[in-house]
């Protein structure tokens, strides 16, 4: 095992990003509710779109982080790459759950049903379940080198579903809208485009700061666990003298 170099501590950059993220979210909410027009056919419920789509995009960011962390860990095992993979899987689950919560609420109005086994919905659910399996594995299977390698393999294989989610709506049809893809008609009003763009910026910044803080926490936890094991080996830890 190659020990990790410490990743950058929370710095002025981190705090600056956190403030910028908060300001972007405030602007996004105000813009969506006060400025963006109501959609002609679906009505006000279409405004879920401005958080639903950026959440799906943030899930891709988390899943990509899990993929790259896992691939790097398989090539050269470090605490940092393992921590990045774990943080990425957590982010993928959190943003995926947001997608799977907001989507059905929108669908209830647009389709008259909270859920259909549409190709995109089904592949999205499958992807979230893969990352839930990753986290369950990490939580209950121990933290040895073998378990980490097994989880890394899952992290790499789990990413295979991401392009399937993206292209499922084009290849297999279904009910899911394709407004912002190449085949879609796009957003008709300029304020709709601004609201969506700000949503992407807000969720990208949020994904970055959450991945940063969670990765750092996981690295510190690994180092702490190793220090505790060293302390027990040296007979320093009285908690073992029972």
């Amino acid at each position: 095992m190659v020990r990790a170099k410490s990743i950058p501590a929370k710095s002025a950059v981190f705090h600056g990003l956190a403030v910028l993220t908060a300001l972007t979210f405030v602007f996004e909410i105000l813009f969506v509710f006060l400025q963006a027009p109501i959609e002609a056919r679906m009505g006000i419920v279409q405004k879920i779109f401005y958080f639903h789509v950026p959440s799906a995009y943030a899930m891709y960011i988390g899943a990509s982080a899990c993929f790259f962390g896992s691939a790097i860990y398989l090539a050269r095992p470090t605490d940092t790459s393992d921590a990045l993979a774990r943080a990425g899987a957590e982010a993928a689950v959190v943003f995926g759950v947001i997608v799977l919560t907001t989507g059905p609420l929108w669908g209830a109005k647009a389709w008259g049903a909270f859920w259909t086994w549409d190709p995109r919905l089904t592949t999205e659910l499958l992807s979230v379940l893969i990352y839930v399996a990753y986290l369950v594995l990490r939580a209950f299977a121990g933290d040895g080198a073998g378990e980490r390698r097994f989880a890394a393999a899952l992290g790499v294989l789990g990413a295979a579903n991401l392009p399937i989610i993206h292209y499922s709506v084009q290849k297999w049809g279904g009910q899911h809208p394709t407004v912002i893809t190449g085949r879609g008609g796009g957003l008709a009003h300029p304020d709709m485009k601004v609201a969506l763009a700000m949503g992407f910026v807000a969720f990208t910044l949020l994904a970055i700061i959450l991945l940063w803080s969670r990765t750092r926490l996981e690295v510190v936890q690994s180092r702490l666990r190793r220090a505790e094991e060293d302390a027990i080996d040296l007979g320093l830890d009285s908690r073992t003298e029972e």
């Binding site: 006000i44 959190v94 908690r239």
Partner: protein
Amino acid sequence: MSDPTPASPSVNDRATTFQAVEGAQPEHYSGEVLLISAYAAVFVILIAWVALTWRKAGAMDERLSALEREIDKAANTDLASKQEPRDRDGHK
């Protein structure tokens, strides 16, 4: 003697026609309620994740403090053993 009637509905009992609603079609779900629910869900999920991360960091802080106490205790014991008086031959 009356005709026997089946206890459970048969295939012939199923609906064979659909009738149109008279007047305006009633709305099943309120768009406003769904929109507010969706935005509330987003923030509840995000805040829950941040809170769990915060709690994890707090637990790590406690473990680190415990480890530091053990190290301090061991260092003090080591220091005390070195400061014990020795006789002329250097034995404790």
